[in-house]
Each structure stands twice: as C-alpha cells, then as structure tokens.
C-alpha cells in the first residue's frame, strides 16, 4: 500500500482529499489510479512538464521514472515546479 499526497488545487478537484492510499506495482500505476490523473498527464499520457514527483524524498525523474517499482508503504508526493506569477 503506497500513499500519494497531492497539492491543494488537486485536492480540491478530488473532493477535498489530499492523501490517497492505494495498491500499485509502479509509480505510473499509482498516479494513473488517482481521480485527478487527467490533470497529471497530457493527452499523450506524458507527465506534465511542470510537475515533479518525489518517491520517499527522491525525484522520480532521476530514479526509475514512472515505470519504476513502488515499494510497499512508499510515500509519493506530487509537487508543482517553482513557477508562476
């Protein structure tokens, strides 16, 4: 069972839920199971450019990516890149 934590805007889109506990073999499987998956991935299935995903504190882009296996009780955090205005 992994835990996925999402930012406030995504929690609002998910009826106020910020933490999701779910069974998933890989990081991509966990993210795609979320009710707000369409906001994480574009129509090609690519993770949106300005989103970072950390698994147990490590940036997933540098360590296995979406296909990387997810250990039981892993904590996944979705964080927007530093951008805006």
């Amino acid at each position: 069972m992994a835990v996925v934590v999402v930012p406030t805007v995504l929690a609002a889109e998910a009826g106020g839920q910020k933490r999701f506990e779910l069974e998933a073999e890989t990081l991509g499987e966990a993210l795609r199971a979320l009710p707000i998956a369409d906001l994480l991935f574009d129509e090609r299935g690519e993770l949106r450019r300005l989103l970072n995903v950390y698994v147990d504190g490590t940036d997933a882009r540098g360590s296995g990516g979406l296909d990387g296996p997810l250990r039981p009780r892993a904590e996944v955090r979705v964080v927007g890149a530093i951008a805006g205005g």
Partner: protein, 351 residues
C-alpha cells in the same frame, strides 16, 4: 432583474452581483489556483462554465450547476494523437443554439474548436478547423494560436483565430471558408493574404442579418455580407487602430464600442486615458464615451474583457478593476477593484 458578472482572472473566478448596477457585491475567488480565461452563465439553464488553465495541470473546463458552490471538470478533452498537437489552453465558451440545449462550443489553443453535446463532460474536436488546408500558414499571436471568438447565427457559424483570421461555416462546422478579404495583416510580407490575419475579437449582431464587427491587430472593421467583404473604420475618429475588446448594442446594429490601445508595440490605453469609444452610425464616426473613467490611466483590457447586455456595458482591466455603465445615462462606475489581472468579463441575469 439583477445582473451577474462572472469575472475570470489570472488567479481564479469572481462573481459580481448587483440589483441596480450601482452597488455591487463580490464573491470569490472561486476555482483558486486556476487562470480563468473565460467564464459564462449559460442563458438557457443558468449553468456556470469556466475555461480553466494552469501552469501545472494543463487546460480544461469546469462546470457548476449551483453558481460556484460545487464544480465538475470535463472528463474527455484533448486532441487526437494523429494530429501531432496537444491542447495548450482553453479560451472561449459559447452556448449552442436554443434548439440544442446540451450543446456547447469551446475554442482553444492551438486554433482548435470543440463541441460538447453533454454539457461539457466530453468534447469532440472539430475536424474542419483541425485539418483546415490553410493551417500551415497560421501563426500564433502573443496569446498563442487561440480560437477566441465563436458566433452562431441562424444557419451560419463563425470562428476567429489569432493569427489565422476569421472563418465561416454554412454546414454546421464541417467546412470553413476564410473571410478575410480587405482585412490587413501589416506584419506579413503580403498585406492582404487569404489567411493569417490577427483578428482580436469577432462579433455578429444578433438582429441584423449578415452584420459582423471585428477588432483586429490592424484596424476595426464591419461587414454587412457575412464577412465576404469588410470596411475599415478606424480612420474615422479613433485614436488608434489597435485594441482587443469589442461590444455591441443588441437593440441597434449601428452601435459598437471599442477600447483602443496606443499601438501594437505599446499595449496600454491610447492617449494615456481609459477611453471607451462609441459609434452610433455603423463606424462612420466615433466619440469618447468615458464619463466617470480615469482620465490618466495606462491599463489594458484583454479580448474577453468587454461584455454587454441590453442595459449596459462591462469591462475589466489587467490592473484588476471592473467597470460598468448603464445605457440610459452612460456613466461608468467601478464595480470592483484590486482583483488579480482580469482576463474575462461576461454578463448574465441574476435570478
């Protein structure tokens, strides 16, 4: 009957309500975290829709059946893989005709038009524009390659895209004819091309068959033949040919309003004042209609930032003010100030 103004801003949606168009109540921000490029209240059923965009989460549409208490998001909205394109932004929502109560149209970037027949849950891209034979000659403007104007008039549809120009369909969107004859494109090597014009806003008059108005990057124009030909009107007393917003009078097809900016290079109000200009003779002459507006101002009003109804005019500025005027006396009052940069203003009845 009161009035409700949905105000789309860079940082969420605000609702302004008034019973007398003098005292205003402000609600919001709704949809915090989203840039609201355009929001409407569908006059057919009172449902609130918003074009919502985010640096992080992409482009979508939100729908509320209870004026913002609760929201649903579009479930299917994107471009087909074989197009090689990806949806960059949602720009404009247009309710379908009265005989199609569940139909909505959506304009977006990159120059795409969508149709929904289920109240915005799912959207189907319009192939006629997506695969238009002139598409390779279209270029994005500063706001992207955006389809920002959609007009449904009797059996015709119009769509306007920056910078592709204006298009007309007489078969419910299956095919589209460019209607840019006589409209300048001073930024291109060929000044009067078939397509590539930077139209900023296109409106059709609801009561005059064939009459269209457009505020363009290169001039203000009127057509009386469904866009087949255009007459340029900005030499007739306007301080500048450049601007974005456009408003009409539903009761008088010869009346139009623009808010000129200094120039394409200097995008703030012309002559250092916030000036709305009105024509009452189909563009033959224009006069300042700015009673109550700041006489020293360097602000900007974006393409979706100007709205009208039978009783008044409404616009919002990039500096966060919303101004309203009543047609009976023409005086402007500041309905709200210090909002985030205003991207869109619309108007609806407040039940």
């Amino acid at each position: 009957m009161g009035v409700l103004i949905p105000v789309g801003t860079r940082k969420g949606l605000f609702l302004l309500r008034s019973g007398d168009r003098e005292r205003w109540e402000l609600d919001g921000p709704l949809l915090p975290g989203w840039s609201v490029y355009h929001a409407i209240v569908d006059p057919r059923d009172g449902v609130l829709y918003a074009c919502t965009n985010s640096f992080f989460y992409g482009a979508t549409v939100h729908r509320s059946n209870d004026l913002g208490e609760t929201w649903e998001r579009a479930e299917e909205l994107g471009l087909p893989e074989e197009s090689g394109l990806a949806l960059a932004a949602t720009w404009h929502l247009e309710p379908g005709r009265a005989r199609e109560p569940d139909t909505l149209w959506l304009g977006g970037d990159p120059a795409v038009l969508f149709r929904s027949d289920d109240g915005s849950a799912t959207w189907e891209v319009n192939r006629g524009l997506l695969e238009h034979p002139t598409r390779e000659r279209w270029q994005p403007g500063a706001g992207g390659l955006c389809c920002h104007s959609i007009q449904l008039v009797d059996g015709r549809m119009y769509a306007a895209i920056s910078a592709a120009g204006s298009f007309r369909s007489e078969d419910d969107g299956a095919t589209w004819t460019p209607i840019n004859a006589g409209v300048a494109a001073d930024f291109l090597p060929e000044k009067y091309p078939e397509v590539g014009q930077c139209v900023h806003k296109l409106l059709s008059h609801p009561a005059r068959e064939g009459r269209l108005w457009q505020q363009n990057h290169c001039g203000v124009y009127r057509s009386d033949d469904h866009g087949d030909t255009w007459e340029r009107l900005d030499g007739n007393g306007l301080p500048s040919d450049f601007g974005f917003g456009l408003a009409l009078d539903p009761a008088d097809p010869d009346v139009a309003y623009v808010i000129p900016e200094q120039s394409a290079e200097h995008r703030y109000t012309a002559d250092g004042r916030l000036g709305v200009y009105r024509t009452g003779d189909a563009g033959a002459s224009w006069e300042l209609a700015a009673d109550g507006l700041p006489e020293r101002a360097w602000v900007a009003v974006l393409r979706e930032g100007f709205a009208f109804d039978e009783d008044g005019l409404y616009f919002g500025t990039q500096s966060g003010s919303v101004w309203a005027s009543r047609r009976d006396d023409g005086a402007w009052t500041e309905a709200a100030r210090d909002l985030p940069p205003v991207l869109s203003v619309e108007v609806a009845e407040w039940p």
